[in-house]
């Protein structure tokens, strides 16, 4: 079953703290794991992504940690800011032979307080 499980459903972090969102998958055919950030009334924006041959990827304050053996990956937001308050979706890609298909997690609503 092509499913991606995401937790927590919601998260409240103080400004300057670390936000951590976790995802787990079952399908070993997934070969690309993006994270999307979505603000209210907007479409999801590609934030950062990783391929399974890498255990960590960092872009600014955002880091993905990837554990291939455990089939888990997580997003870490360092020095969280109020402007980071949004909904975050993890996803996993599979190539069907004719197209890429993304399966999304259920989303995490992050609120960063002052």
């Amino acid at each position: 079953q092509q499913q991606v499980k995401q937790s927590p459903q919601s998260l409240i972090v103080q400004k300057g703290g670390i936000s951590i969102i976790n995802c787990a998958y079952e399908n070993t055919a997934f070969d690309y794991f993006p994270w999307y950030q979505q603000f209210p009334g907007k479409g999801p924006a590609l934030l950062i992504a990783i391929r399974p041959d890498v255990s960590e990827k960092k872009e600014g304050r955002f880091t993905i940690s990837f554990n291939k053996s455990a089939k888990q990956f997580s997003l870490h937001i360092m020095d969280s800011q109020p402007g980071d308050s949004a909904t975050y979706f993890c996803a996993a890609r599979v190539y069907t032979g004719t197209a890429s298909k993304l399966t999304f997690g259920t989303g995490t609503r992050l609120q960063v307080t002052l």
Binding site: G43, A45, L46, T98, S100, L102, F104
Partner: protein, 115 residues
């Protein structure tokens, strides 16, 4: 990344009617996708649209209900037919440059309310 626009941005429609949503990209892309996102929920793929071929629908979505056109490499439409309140949702267009591209980029969405 591509710049994607959708029209309309939002609409309120009566049940039984149909609405066509347009998706325009500022560069040529091979793959276009249509997703549905119910308020506060995750994204569900409706169909994949390759230029020059019939759209491929996901389980639970049928062409009669969600006909899709893909006349060229920068444009696609999704029609929501014979609408019911259950069709109230955000409809999102997404693009990828190639069939095996990793990155997908999303448009701003169309918020549909059916009364």
């Amino acid at each position: 990344s591509a710049v994607i626009s959708q029209k309309p941005s939002r609409d309120i429609c009566q049940r039984g009617t149909s609405l066509t949503i347009q998706c325009q990209v500022d560069s040529q892309v091979t793959m276009m996708f249509w997703y549905r996102q119910q308020p506060g929920q995750s994204l569900t793929l409706i169909a994949t649209a390759n230029q020059g071929s019939e759209a491929t629908y996901e389980s639970g979505f049928v062409i009669d209900k969600f006909p899709i056109s893909r006349p060229n490499l920068t444009f696609s439409t999704l029609t929501v037919s014979n609408m019911s309140p259950e069709d109230s949702s955000i409809y999102l267009c997404s693009v990828a440059s190639g069939t095996n591209s990793y990155e997908q980029y999303f448009g701003p969405g169309t918020r549909l309310t059916v009364t």
